[in-house]
């Protein structure tokens, strides 16, 4: 057998070092914490898988996970169809194209904690433009600091405002790549608007939609800054999503072991859902 050229390793080395420092080592420290108990002073006691069991069995984790899935589900159910509809109704050429694109991109350019603060001020019942208008002009009781329902509506609307543009821009790019001949052929074939959407536009948008859903899933599942600045997880625990709960355990209670175990479970869930979804969506392309 001919010996392989071992010099190749040299070329991969920089990447390996980089990955080691920005991913492997940080994750390994978390793994290290997740199987031990520490009281500070660099004293560690072997704990095995106890923390994992404790987290997986705790009602607090179940509740946060439930809220997390509810949030992600809600925003996906709104942002994806809404994004498609907006992309479909955007002009294809002319003066309004750049106007629409720039307007769409604006919310995405705003720093996340600024978005949270903006919506906080905007919806405060006594001083916020929207809050005041709803409570004092329309007489609709709406207070996201007191009512869990109002808090939920606010964080969902905020996320829709912030991120629908991403779905729109991706879908719009997908739509623009469809040659005119497809629409002309469909016209001649007598296809209805629905058939054009179902058999031409949707299949051509499939790749970008997969990416859009994947990005929105990961981002919303890991969301922290915006709801934290907006509601701080309240009122009560009603908007305490997984990441907010994690930070409370890790930095509030300083329970590093359980927090590490929870991080790993959290990471595994994100990874698993993304992988399953991606595999399902690209299954047809290979055969």
């Amino acid at each position: 057998m001919k010996s392989a050229n071992q010099r190749a390793w040299l070329f991969v080395l920089p990447v390996l070092v980089l990955v080691a420092f920005n991913a492997l080592i940080p994750i390994m420290t978390v793994v290290n914490y997740s199987v031990q108990e520490t009281f500070g002073d660099n004293l560690f006691f072997w704990q095995g898988l106890d923390w994992f069991q404790q987290i997986l069995r705790s009602d607090r984790f179940h509740a946060a996970l439930g809220r997390q899935f509810l949030f992600t589900g809600l925003i996906l159910a709104i942002e994806i169809p809404l994004g498609i509809v907006i992309a479909l109704s955007m002009p294809k050429r002319g003066f309004w194209v750049p106007v629409c694109l720039v307007t769409m991109a604006l919310p995405m350019l705003i720093p996340w904690n600024v978005v949270g603060s903006m919506w906080n001020i905007f919806t405060l019942p006594d001083i916020g433009l929207l809050g005041y208008f709803l409570n004092h002009t329309l007489g609709v009781p709406y207070d996201m600091t007191q009512s869990p329902v109002a808090a939920w509506i606010t964080i969902v609307v905020m996320d829709v405002w912030h991120w629908t543009s991403l779905v729109v821009l991706l879908c719009y790019a997908g739509l623009m790549s469809i040659p005119d001949a497809y629409y002309q052929a469909a016209k001649i074939d007598g296809a209805s608007n629905w058939a054009v959407f179902r058999y031409i536009q949707l299949p051509k948008m499939k790749t970008v939609l997969t990416i859009a859903i994947l990005l929105r899933f990961m981002d919303s599942f890991n969301i922290y800054t915006e709801p934290f600045t907006l509601t701080g997880g309240g009122p009560g625990n009603s908007t305490t999503l997984l990441s907010i709960d994690l930070v409370k355990i890790a930095l509030g209670q300083f329970d590093l072991g359980p927090a590490a175990a929870m991080s790993l479970i959290y990471f595994a869930i994100t990874l698993l859902v993304s992988w399953v979804f991606y595999t399902l969506m690209t299954k047809d392309d290979t055969n």
């Binding site: 002309q184 052929a185 074939d189 296809a191 058939a195 058999y199």
Partner: protein, 357 residues
Amino acid sequence: MARITLQNVRHSYLPNPDGDDDYALKEIDHSWEDGGAYALLGPSGCGKSTLLNIISGLRAPSEGRILFGDEDVTDLPPDKRNIAQVFQFPVIYDTMTVYDNLAFPLRNRGRNEKIVKERVTAIAEMLEVTPMLKTRAANLSPDNKQKISMGRGLVRNDVNVVMFDEPLTVIDPHLKWKLRLKLKELHHRVNATMIYVTHDQTEALTFADQVVVMDLGVIVQIGTPVELFERPAHTFVGHFIGSPGMNILPCEIRDGGAFFRGQNVALEGPVTRSGERTEIGVRPEYVTLAPTGIEGVVRKAADIGRHNVIEVVAGDTRISVVSDGNLPEQGETVHLQFRQDQTRLYADGWLASKARS
């Protein structure tokens, strides 16, 4: 099925056309007989695709009317005109099977599944795609995709006209022949009017009974392939059709005769009119090397298989000769004779001599 009439159709892509140059189609007045096989031939940008889109209804003409039979369809959308069009790049519905692709135009028109099945099976048989009916259309090769596009046009048995917009552009050369013959065969079987747009003369001449030659937004000549070859109505047709194209020699008209570089050239017959620019037109096939005649120097001589192509320069005019005789040397001085009944006069580009009867 019906005869298609274009009445004074003009089209401009500008909102306020000003003068003839602003029109992509200058003035088209033409009828397409029911069941004919037509080719629309012309260089890129001559307006042939515009004309096609106007017939199909994808574009509304700036002026003029379009009639299918006696019905004015100028304001009808494509799906109401009962036409079919095959595009340059195959259009197929990726997510559907081949069967569903072919059935799509019928299902959209609410035909019942029994009729759909009958038609799709028949068309698949004609196109020789029966074994692929169950496969997903996205997985086909380009030529099969284009076959399916054609099939979707042919599957309705009541289409007025099937239009092809350079349909073989993306097909491999060796498959082009097969598809071209297939098209010809299909025309005989389905008996619909077919209009085939192309800039390739071989495609046009093999497919069509009648070839419509266009240039700069006008129809230059309509005729059978033989007519276009033998008697081009315009120097453009002479030059565009044939390989090499017709020889065009600038000439002077004196005493009813044509003179090229001071030498009288015998024309096919009397001169019908004159113009600012007069030219003699003769096909390379009708030029022979002879002991006397127009003098020139051989610039290039090549044996291209069946015959020789010789390029002679007389003054600054190039004259091509197609011959079977001996190949002259480059730089040799030769004399050329034109066959009289194939030597025509063109005034300002248009035919200006009449054959002796």
